[in-house]
Amino acid sequence: MSSDFKPNIVGFLCNWCSYAGADLAGSSKMEVKPYLSVIRVMCSSRINSNLVLTALLWGADGVLIAGCHPGDCHYEQGNYYARRRFALLKKIMETLKLEPDRLQLSWVSASEGKRYAEVVNKFSDEITKMGPNPIHKNPKI
């Protein structure tokens, strides 16, 4: 693994909890690794597998989906569906040994600025440790 590897991580954040949590991390001036690019969606359930797969296959070294904690969904139950879809995708990746660790789902609430920073930093570290997504160099995808 090259030490100057800067991973490209895509983060889908739900508007109500996780994005607010990310904002809080920012306004609390917490240090967060710069590798994650945030994409705001209204609810974590908006994320379909295609979006995640597209990101992973077109070069993302990691994909983070963050939403409200179960029970906290602004739309009551969106995150439960998100969790099921995520579990399915993760299982597929596990079964095919397609580096399931590059995909993570985390619950981050609006008050959890610190947690947001931790989640992102930890995930960034893990991805850095894993090295570049091998798909990225595969001309056959």
Binding site: S37, V41, M42, S45, R46, Y75, Y81
Partner: protein
């Protein structure tokens, strides 16, 4: 796309200015396709900044604008308003968060700058796909349908009916008043319930703006806030009537747990075991008597009948039993009253005083964990109960069971008709258990009183009034409603009609058109979460302002 995109980077004083090399940012984005101008400014959210932006939008004839500044949660609305003032559709503005997400989080200036460029590129890429969205306006009907003529229903109607609002009450039984009719008196005033209800019913009957259907049922109701179509089955053989209303209030009340379900309670088997309602009836007629016509010398008032079975505390029984005990002590000389309770639940500020008053009257309180058996024994009734693992027993002349409140049979029927979810206890589920205690997930449909869960009369009244408050402020005569614009839409040619989207929508905003075989989103109901979009395999449903292509562009830029 043909367009002029303007990109404005806010320095936010030193917050962005010092942490991000803005000149480098501008250089990197100025030559991107369709970018007409890329400029920096000290503080865009200041009045000067807003003025500057407005002028720029006009001067440069911008079709799309990207503002790189702070979190959309802070100032998205601000800049949308600026755009609107400049004659640009507010949804053609994208606010890119480079302050919280870059400047404040990434101490390394170079990395922060790089990241900011990425975000702004994503913003540019995305904004070029934005569509101008306009708020639709819908006419509303201000009339209201109230299902259920109990205390909640009556109070709702009284609070709402007026010159410009008609209220229809549909009550399945032949008279208004609901369960409260059966109570002997209220608490802690010991006033007569009858007079209270009668007073309200009289006012109601005098009100020309309230139309009451007794002995009637709602057989169909569909629509959304401001526009419901309802069919009422009037009495027996009286035919159907269709009405239009703007809101529906479900006030179908509760039923009582039937103690006969558990033979241990002895109801129906053992003489002089009665329910609290039966006792109320006796109190009302002032004839608290045993089967043999004699007044009881001792009574056991048994709390929490059905609590274990149903899995919740009904909240109102403790006080109600205290009231009855109070009455018995007052009315029957030297009577021995024992309350067998689990936990005293007296959660209102005046309740404790009342409890102390009753205690002072000599009512005995026995705590038990479980009623083991109630049976006839030696001309009396023996109540066997358990406390801390030990069995105990008392003998009384009469045992009064206080059953738990359960959802009324009608609630379920009505809920099915209106597509309302029920919670695990079978009561109607609130739109949000904390913040929207009387709203249901279906906008325009409210619930009040015991249809939502056990409540006492004041709480039911409060809920009825709260319902009224919500309706008065959302259905204003002459004022149109503007539903959310960032909603989902179905592209009919691609929709296969699998109705997966229906199953994941919490708000019932999607229906199925059997003629076309496609799903239809009711934009007046949709709240724009996009859950349906996430669930549609073919991409036939798309969410405005968060389309797949828009997000995909963001992803691609993130990966650059």
């Amino acid at each position: 796309m043909n367009g002029n995109i303007g990109v404005y980077v806010c320095e936010c004083g030193p917050n962005i200015g010092e942490k991000i090399d803005i000149d480098k940012v501008l250089e990197a984005i100025a030559s991107l396709p369709h970018v007409k101008v890329a400029k920096r400014f000290g503080l865009l959210c200041s009045n000067d900044g807003k003025k500057y932006l407005e002028d720029e939008m006009r001067k440069e004839e911008l079709t799309h604008v990207v503002i790189a500044a702070c979190s959309p949660r802070d100032h998205e609305q601000t800049f949308m308003t600026v755009a609107e003032r400049a004659g640009l559709n507010p949804y053609l503005v994208q606010l890119v968060n480079i302050r919280e997400q870059c400047a404040w989080m990434i101490p390394d200036k170079e990395a922060a700058t790089e990241k900011a460029i990425k975000y702004i590129r994503a913003g540019i890429s995305r904004v070029s796909l934005h569509q101008a969205l306009t708020k639709k306006e819908l006419e509303v009907c201000t009339d209201v349908l109230v299902i259920g003529g109990g205390i909640s229903g009556i109070e709702t109607a009284l609070s709402l009916a007026g010159e410009d609002r008609k209220v229809f009450i549909v009550e399945k039984s032949e008279e208004l008043g609901g369960k409260a009719n059966k109570l002997s008196r209220l608490l802690p005033h010991q006033g007569s319930t009858l007079s209270l209800i009668q007073e309200k019913i009289d006012t109601l009957n005098k009100n020309a703006h309230i139309e009451v259907f007794t002995g009637s049922q709602v057989v169909d109701a569909r629509g959304f806030l401001g526009n419901f179509e309802v069919v009422i089955q009037k009495g027996e053989n009286a035919g159907e009537q269709e009405i239009k209303v703007g809101a529906v209030v479900v006030a179908t009340g509760f039923d009582l747990f039937n103690p006969e379900e558990n033979p241990a309670y002895g109801l129906g088997k053992v003489d002089n075991v009665v329910t609290s309602l039966q006792l109320e009836e006796m109190i009302k007629t002032e004839k608290v008597l045993l089967k043999n016509g004699k007044p009881p010398r001792s009574l056991a008032l048994i709390h929490c009948v059905g609590r274990s079975e149903k899995g919740y505390c009904s909240k109102t029984c403790c006080l109600n039993i205290l009231k009855n005990a109070h009455f018995l002590k007052d009315k029957i000389k030297d009577v021995d009253v024992t309350e067998i309770y689990r936990d005293l639940c007296l959660p209102n500020k005046a309740d404790q005083d009342y409890y102390e008053e009753v205690e002072k009257k000599g009512v005995k309180f026995l705590r038990s964990n479980e009623i083991v058996n109630i049976k006839a024994e030696g001309g009396q009734i023996s109540v066997e109960y358990k406390i801390d693992g030990k069995s105990k027993k008392i003998s009384v002349d009469m045992a009064v069971l206080s059953p738990a409140m359960i959802p009324s049979a009608d609630s379920k029927k009505i809920a099915e008709m209106l597509n309302l979810p029920l919670d695990p206890t079978g009561f109607i589920k609130e739109a949000h258990g904390m913040l929207e205690p009387i709203a249901t997930p279906i906008e325009g449909v409210f619930a009040a009183g015991c249809s939502l869960g056990p409540k006492n009369i004041p709480e039911s009244i409060i809920q009825a009034q709260a319902t009224a408050g919500n309706i008065i402020s959302s259905l204003i005569p002459g004022k149109k409603i503007k539903p959310e614009v960032k909603v989902s839409v179905v592209r009919e040619e691609f929709c296969t009609g699998c109705q997966t989207c229906l199953s994941v929508c919490f708000y019932g905003a999607i229906s199925f058109d059997p003629h076309k075989g496609v799903s239809v989103v009711n934009e007046a109901i949709c709240r724009g979460c996009g859950s349906c979009v996430g669930s549609c395999p073919s991409g036939a449903i798309r969410s405005k302002h968060f389309t797949y292509t828009q997000l995909y562009r963001e992803v691609l830029e993130a990966l650059r």
